[in-house]
C-alpha cells in the first residue's frame, strides 16, 4: 500500500519535470522560427517582465483585471439580490439578462471600443460588464435554492428584513455566489487579454500579440508563459480564498457525508 502511494507521488511530480526537461533539451538547438529554445524564451521572459515592463504593462493588466472583477462582484451580487427578492424586477430584466449572457463576452469589446475608445476605462468597463453575468445569475440561483424552512424559522424568530438578507440569505447563498465569482474571474481574465489584443499598445496581451505580429517569437512565448502562469495563480488564490470563506460550509458538508 505504501509502495503504491510513493510510486504515485513519484509519477505525479516526475511527469511535469520530465515534460519540462524534454521541452528544454528538444528545443535546445532549435532553429525552427516558431519554436525557439526554451532557454531563449526564459531569458526573454526575465528581460521583459522582470522588471522592465513590470510596472508599465504587468501591473496595468492586473490592475484592470482586479478593478473590473471587483466592480462585477459587487454589482453582480447586489443586482442578483434585487432580482431574486423583487419578482417584478426579475420578470422585467430576466429576458434581457439571458440575451446579454448569450453574447460572447469578447464580442462586446468592439462595442466598448467604439463607445469609449481604447483607454483603460474601456478595458475596465468591458471586464466588469462581461464578468457581471456569471456572478449575478449564480446569486439569483443561490437565493432561490435557500430552503423555505430556513426562511420560515427566520420569520418565526421575527428577524427584520435586513437581518434576513444579511444573516440568513447571504450566508446560505454564499457557496453558489462563490462558484459564480470563480467563473466571473475566468471571464474577466479572458476579456482582460482580449481588450488588450484589440488595438491597444499596453498590457501583457497587447505585447504578446505585437510580438507575434512582428515575428519576435521568443517574446511571444514569454508572453504566453506569463499569461498562463497568471491565469493559474489567480485561480489558485481565488480557490484558497473560497476555501477560507466557505470553511463552515465545507465542514458541514463533510459532516453530513460522514453521518
Amino acid at each position: 500500500m505504501r509502495n503504491v502511494a510513493i510510486r504515485n507521488w513519484v509519477i505525479g511530480t516526475g511527469t511535469p519535470v520530465l515534460l519540462l526537461a524534454a521541452w528544454w533539451f528538444l528545443s535546445a538547438n532549435s532553429t525552427d522560427p516558431f519554436f525557439p529554445p526554451l532557454e531563449t524564451i526564459l531569458i526573454r521572459f526575465q528581460e521583459l517582465w522582470l522588471f522592465d515592463h513590470f510596472q508599465s504593462d504587468v501591473l496595468l493588466s492586473l490592475g484592470n483585471l482586479f478593478l473590473g472583477f471587483a466592480i462585477a462582484a459587487v454589482v453582480g451580487v447586489a443586482v442578483g439580490f434585487a432580482t431574486a427578492l423583487v419578482p417584478p424586477v426579475r420578470w422585467m430584466i430576466d429576458p434581457l439578462i439571458h440575451f446579454l449572457r448569450g453574447i460572447p463576452p469578447v464580442a462586446l469589446v468592439p462595442i466598448f471600443i467604439s463607445l469609449i475608445g481604447f483607454g483603460t476605462q474601456m478595458r475596465v468597463t468591458s471586464i466588469a460588464l462581461a464578468a457581471l453575468f456569471p456572478t449575478m445569475i449564480a446569486t439569483v440561483d443561490g437565493i432561490r435554492s435557500v430552503s423555505n424552512d430556513l426562511m420560515d424559522v427566520a420569520r418565526v424568530y421575527r428577524l427584520s428584513r435586513k437581518e434576513r438578507v444579511f444573516n440568513v440569505l447571504l450566508p446560505a447563498a454564499m457557496p453558489q455566489i462563490f462558484s459564480g465569482l470563480q467563473v466571473s474571474l475566468q471571464v474577466a481574465f479572458i476579456v482582460m487579454i482580449a481588450s488588450e489584443m484589440l488595438g491597444s499598445s499596453q498590457g501583457i496581451g497587447a505585447m504578446t500579440l505585437l510580438a507575434q505580429q512582428s515575428f519576435m517569437t521568443a517574446d511571444m512565448w514569454a508572453g504566453i508563459l506569463l499569461l498562463g502562469v497568471i491565469g493559474f495563480l489567480v485561480n489558485i488564490l481565488f480557490s484558497l480564498l473560497k476555501r477560507k470563506v466557505l470553511s463552515w460550509y465545507i465542514g458541514s458538508r463533510r459532516m453530513a457525508r460522514a453521518a
Partner: protein, 257 residues
C-alpha cells in the same frame, strides 16, 4: 389566471423599456455615431440578413464550433476513460491538467495564429484546446464515481474489461459528460468568435472585426445581436440534447424543485 400572465407582461415591459431607452439615448446623440439608434440597427440587420456573405460567415462559425465540439468530445471521452481507468496515468497527468485547466485558449491564440495563420484550422485548434480539458476532467470524475458494487457485479457475471467499460463505466459517467458538454457548447461558440475577432479566422468574429475597423457601427450592433441569439440557441439546443440523451438517468427522471 391573471397572475400567470403578469410575469410575461413585465418581461415585455422590460424589453420594450430597454429598446426605448436605447432609441432615446441614440437620438440624443450621447455617443455620437458610435451609438446608432435601435431602428437603424434593425434595418441594417435586415439588409445584412439578405447578403450571402453573412450566411457563409454564420455557416463557418457554426460549422467550426460544432466540428471542434465533436472532436473535443471524442478525444475528451477517450482520454478521460484512459486517465480515469489507470491510476498511474491519472497521477502522471494530474499536475499538467491542473495547470492547464484555468488557462483559457485566448492565451495561446498568438501561437496558433503564428503557426497556422488566420485559417479555419487555427480556429478549430483553439476551440478543441478550449473544450477538451473540461470534458476530460469531467469524464475522469465520472469514471471515478462509478459504483464499485455495479462494477463488481458486472465482473461476477463474467463481463470482460472492455464490456464493463462500455456497459457500466461509460453509462455511469454519462451525466458527468453531459454536464461537460452543456458547458462546452456555448464555450465552443465563444472561442470560435474570439478566433475570428482576434486571430482573423473565418466566421462572424471576423465580420465583427471588419465592421468595427470600418466604423460601420450599425452592422457591429446588428452582428452582436445575431451572436446573442445564436448563443441562446446553442444553450437551448445543448440542454435539450442533454435531456434527450440522458432521459433514463435518475437525475433527469423527475423535475428537482
Amino acid at each position: 389566471m391573471k397572475a400567470s400572465i403578469r410575469p410575461y407582461a413585465f418581461s415585455a415591459l422590460g424589453i420594450a423599456g430597454a429598446l426605448v431607452i436605447w432609441q432615446v439615448l441614440a437620438t440624443a446623440q450621447v455617443a455620437g455615431n458610435a451609438l446608432p439608434s435601435a431602428t437603424t440597427v434593425f434595418t441594417t440587420l435586415a439588409t445584412i440578413l439578405g447578403t450571402g456573405t453573412f450566411w457563409s460567415a454564420l455557416g463557418a462559425t457554426i460549422g467550426i464550433a460544432l466540428l471542434a465540439l465533436a472532436l473535443a468530445a471524442l478525444a475528451g471521452v477517450v482520454l478521460g476513460l484512459l486517465i480515469g481507468s489507470f491510476e498511474s496515468v491519472r497521477y502522471a497527468t494530474l499536475a499538467v491538467l491542473e495547470f492547464l485547466k484555468p488557462v483559457p485558449p485566448i492565451v495561446i491564440l498568438p501561437l496558433a495564429v503564428l503557426v497556422l495563420g488566420p485559417t479555419a484550422e487555427m480556429a478549430l485548434f483553439l476551440v478543441v484546446f478550449g473544450c477538451l480539458l473540461p470534458i476530460v476532467m469531467q469524464t475522469v470524475d465520472g469514471v471515478q464515481g462509478t459504483d464499485p458494487v455495479a462494477r463488481d457485479t458486472a465482473r461476477s457475471y463474467g463481463m470482460g474489461e472492455g464490456e464493463i467499460l462500455a456497459r457500466v463505466v461509460l453509462p455511469s459517467a454519462m451525466p458527468y459528460i453531459g454536464t461537460a458538454m452543456r458547458l462546452a457548447a456555448p464555450a465552443a461558440l465563444v472561442v470560435t468568435v474570439v478566433a475570428g475577432l482576434l486571430g482573423g479566422g473565418p466566421g462572424l468574429g471576423q465580420t465583427i472585426y471588419q465592421a468595427q475597423a470600418a466604423g460601420d457601427y450599425a452592422s457591429l450592433y446588428g452582428l452582436v445581436i445575431v451572436l446573442g441569439v445564436l448563443g441562446l440557441l446553442f444553450q437551448g439546443a445543448t440542454r435539450l440534447a442533454e435531456r434527450r440523451v440522458l432521459h433514463w438517468h435518475e437525475s433527469y427522471r423527475e423535475v428537482v424543485p
